[in-house]
Symmetry: C3
Subunit: 228 residues, 3 copies
């Protein structure tokens, strides 16, 4: 796909915005998981960093873009550390407030916050992953799959390190909205319709599907185990 | 090692055949692990994809072949998804039949099926990993080790995600047959004896050793802990 | 940063020394974890290999240096396997001796040995990671972070495979000394002060901080959970 230089510059700026936002929300989710696990300040920072930057680093390694932007762009690092610091500073206060509520509530709130932030990160990284892959001419299939991996990679590393069941294997639709969003970006690129507006539309699409799945607790069917 | 063009084409075809078969059997093992863990359709697809394509993706990343063939060749993706679909469709029926048998049986059968499929994937990927590494002149040691990593990587990722003890750390000989097979391929290449026949011989060798180890429950010695 | 050829050769030799030592001590830690988990000879070798070579392989993949030195330099492989063999041969004897001591002791000794070896590996790999990154002009931020990843990567993979809480998320300062050491190397390089003496000084710095943290059981603060 050919781009005129103006569009390329736009894409580059858009790329950074998508990445910084994605890193920030995923890092918040990582930091919250760390707090829930009782980890200290550095554990929080490590999980914020892993959750925020893991997906983008995997994306760049898969595309041969080394060293990955996640280890050399200070803005991405700053976004992750800011998220970790915010959670560290405010979780205590917020936790105190919610403690007056019924016992199960704070935990459920934190779990819900992780899910929503995760959905936002998923949306931002699915789109950003597909765009980066298209920019290095990886082909439509690779761009779709790398979008999916970029979106799910950070959360997967977070869950592995925190020793909890990976979100991507859980019941609700998780990887599918990411793959759909990446495929939508590939389609837009093919139709030469990739612009700031359509890119944010793709982000909203992934976020919407994922939040709907979480809210309605949509489950995919399981393999039959009992006779019908 | 120099090849005439005809042999190269043969190797390329052979490579795809080895990869598609390896992806398929490893994906079956991943899907079965997912079903045993009670995961839904997408969990099955994710574990099938991870188990089937993980090893080859790690191989390509280690060799600098980006984007990896596992994310851009639709045949490999199709093999993984077909395996996941088959397990999803037929596991219920098969499970119903075996449920009439003593209670412990279905589980033991699934465990055994995972082991055999795993052995086949191990054999196919050990050989394919070594061949790809030799094709990019990685040297004999690197080709042997990358063969071993390719063979064990997918199963390792599967076990990490499914939160079960990695097969590669378990008691029976696992990584060793893979390394032996990869070393055998390196030797064949050195002697200019690499052909369709000898490659399949190497696959049979790894599969045979591994199945023998599983069947006879061959254990490697442990570090002494009690006084002799 | 420009180097005259003599310095480059010195750096290369130094690099190998740092790497071989780092691989050896990390592999010892991996083998000890394997023994404590009751794994057999091959489990020990696999964990020794993963712990010893994992960090360097991740480093090389992040820097695009493929195939990684960890899969093609027999000296690194030999160091890892030697460490595994030593632990396998002598752990039984040592365990018998210590068994006469109070029951809790052998386990505590093994845990302490893993921590000290881990601290040494952390120091060696933090410095080596930063040097390799600087050699391929990765920039100061990337060199610091890649130093940190190189130092913590092997231990992290070891802990993931052994299914224990990653050391890097635990209470004591772990990643921070590694990052400080890597940043110190970047500073030395910037000031053109990188030499055999200063490099070993950086190694001693990281090791010292980490051992101090372990000995004094220095904890980082946790997010407040109880009202102040």
């Amino acid at each position: 796909s050919c781009h005129d230089p103006r569009v390329l510059t736009d894409t580059a700026t858009l790329q950074v915005v998508l990445d910084v936002c994605g890193v920030f929300v995923f890092a918040l989710s990582g930091a919250l998981v760390a707090v829930r696990r009782g980890l200290d300040l550095f554990g929080i920072m490590v999980l914020a960093w892993v959750a925020g930057l893991g997906g983008g680093i995997i994306r760049d390694v898969l595309l041969g873009l080394t060293p990955p932007v996640g280890v050399r762009d200070w803005r991405l690092l700053a976004a992750a550390l800011l998220a970790g610091t915010l959670v560290f500073l405010f979780y205590g206060r917020w936790s105190v407030i919610t403690e007056r509520a019924p016992e199960a509530r704070p935990r459920r709130l934190a779990t819900r916050a992780v899910r929503w932030l995760d959905a936002a990160g998923l949306a931002l990284f699915a789109v950003s992953g597909a765009i980066v892959a298209l920019n290095v001419d990886a082909g439509p299939l690779a761009a779709t799959i790398i979008g999916g991996i970029t979106a799910t990679g950070g959360g997967l590393l977070r869950d592995l390190l925190a020793r909890q069941v990976p979100e991507v294997l859980q019941r609700e639709l998780y990887a599918l909205p990411a793959l759909a969003g990446a495929a939508f970006v590939v389609l837009l690129d093919h139709l030469d319709l990739l612009s700031t507006v359509t890119v944010w539309l793709a982000v909203a699409l992934v976020f919407g599907i994922r939040v709907l799945a979480v809210t309605l607790d949509l489950n995919a069917p399981r393999a039959l185990r009992t006779p019908t």
